[in-house]
């Protein structure tokens, strides 16, 4: 009842391609992703990037819906504190996400599945590192079943 039925769980680890949803701030992390691309840095292809105007635009609903609809991991990336395009957005985001990540962890979501980081437009390397790191950790954890909507077909 509580978790997806057993058959769905026995996906071969080899076959498992984690789906990561990354909410990237338009002014920094998204540009960082761009730079990572043009610099031909390796970062995994199964990361879906969603551009947001600021890290504080990320509503917790977005994260929950991502997990419900098939994400194995979620990344929220914004400007370094102090560098926000809107001056203060990421300071608010920092507080909100501190509480939200802790709350999700309390509900039982492994903390590796929800990653928040600050990535500037110049930090293409960091972008690639963070994404690879998340992917690796999520891969180790296996497919996410928690919060998943059983009716959603990936």
């Amino acid at each position: 009842m509580l978790l997806e039925s057993k058959e769905n769980l026995t996906i071969d680890k080899e076959e498992f391609k984690p789906l990561i949803v990354a909410f990237c701030c338009n002014w920094c992390s998204y540009a960082g992703a761009d730079l990572a691309g043009t610099s031909r840095l390796n970062y995994p292809a199964n990361i879906r990037i969603i551009k947001v105007p600021c890290s504080c635009r990320v509503n917790p609903n977005f994260v929950l819906r991502a997990f419900q609809n098939g994400a194995d991991g979620v990344v929220i990336a914004g400007c370094h504190p102090g560098d926000c395009h809107y001056s203060t957005g990421n300071y608010f985001a920092r507080r909100r996400l501190t509480l939200f990540t802790s709350l999700l962890n309390y509900i039982g979501i492994e903390s590796e599945r929800l990653k928040v980081d600050w990535i500037s437009a110049a930090e293409a390397n960091k972008f690639a590192t963070v994404m690879n790191d998340v992917l690796e950790k999520v891969h180790k954890l296996g497919p996410n079943r928690k919060l998943r909507d059983v009716r959603w077909k990936r």
């Binding site: 917790p60 507080r95 709350l103 039982g108 928690k146 059983v150």
Partner: protein, 326 residues
């Protein structure tokens, strides 16, 4: 108690007759000894319906939102926990404090009829009185002396504000109950000590009991949005299907939406028909805030902005990792 009731009636009568207020919100007696209901009084004759006893548990402050649409000045009886909710409503711009006269009522803890019922004391209950830490009840079988704490609402056992934190008039000056000064968050710790699988299992089981009646939301003094996202079909978040993911979604979003504003009055858990441990979610957030951002003070000071609409440059940053090279 009797003394308090006469004080209540007196002040309500006075203020209504002098037109200081044109509406009084208080408690009236229900069909059973163990039942007190919100009542709304505009006529002087109805003042006599006011009561005060060990079952006046409802937080009346939320009624102000609607009542102030129809009445100019409202007098309202608020306990300690209710007054926190009132302050939060003021802070959220839902209630103009100038239009409200708060009659503060110190509270010595409310009795949970369900706890009496579990001990088979509810049926044929004829009389009940509290004397300090003792609860004296009279049933068909005769008089009995109980320990009051065993029958109080869970939320009252953790009460930090037995006295109203805001009032225009205080009906009783002496504190009737010692407040708990340090919160140990023992019940939150117990869940935190589980591993993530156990935690998920625990919460999924709790959430799956939910029948989506939204009583927790509607009773909550800080859930005061004009239109809740769960009532707004257009924005596509209000899945009505009874599946685990939707239950989880509702409860996580609800808890997070009151983060930093929850006054910990415990009404949500009290009214839940399926006894879901809703307050353990709220209290987790309160615990985090206390640990990270300092003392939690939602509802104490209506002019101070709440944790999540505020920031400091030097806030704790759990996300900072080493900077990557260019």
């Amino acid at each position: 108690m009797e003394e308090m009731i006469s004080k209540m009636k007196k002040i309500a009568y006075e203020d209504l007759s002098t037109k200081k207020v044109d509406r009084v919100i208080g408690f009236g007696k229900g069909d059973f000894i163990y039942e007190a209901n919100p009542i709304f009084i505009s006529n002087l004759e109805e003042v006599d319906l006011l009561v005060w006893d060990l079952f006046c548990v409802n937080n009346l402050s939320k009624y102000l939102i609607n009542e102030l649409k129809n009445y100019q000045k409202i007098g309202i009886f608020l306990k300690g926990c209710d007054s926190l909710g009132f302050n939060q409503l003021v802070k959220d711009n839902k209630v103009d404090p100038d239009n409200v006269i708060v009659y503060g009522v110190p509270c010595e803890g409310m009795i949970d009829p369900n706890k009496l019922s579990k001990k088979n004391l509810l049926k044929d209950l004829r009389y009940l009185r509290r004397v300090d830490e003792k609860l004296i009840i009279v049933t068909k079988q005769g008089e009995k002396e109980l320990i009051a704490k065993d029958y109080e609402y869970d939320k009252c056992l953790k009460c930090k504000h037995p006295n109203p934190v805001v009032y225009s008039e205080l009906l009783e000056s002496n504190t009737l109950r010692n407040s708990i000064l340090t919160d140990d968050f023992e019940e939150v710790d117990r869940i935190e000590d589980m591993n993530s699988e156990e935690r998920y299992e625990y919460w999924s089981e709790q959430f799956s009991k939910c029948i989506r009646c939204y009583a927790c939301r509607n009773i909550c003094p800080v859930c005061s949005c004009d239109k809740c996202i769960f009532d707004n079909l257009d924005i596509g978040v209000s899945g009505k299907a009874k599946v685990d993911s939707e239950d989880q979604f509702f409860h996580i979003v609800r808890a997070y939406h009151v983060a930093g504003r929850c006054v910990d009055c415990g009404e949500c858990s009290r009214v839940c028909p399926e006894s879901i441990a809703i307050d353990k979610l709220n209290r987790k957030i309160i615990k985090d805030i206390t640990e990270i951002y300092g003392e939690y003070d939602a509802g104490l000071n209506p002019s101070k902005s709440s944790v999540l609409v505020n920031y400091k440059l030097e806030d704790f940053d759990p996300f900072e990792t080493s900077k990557g090279g260019k």
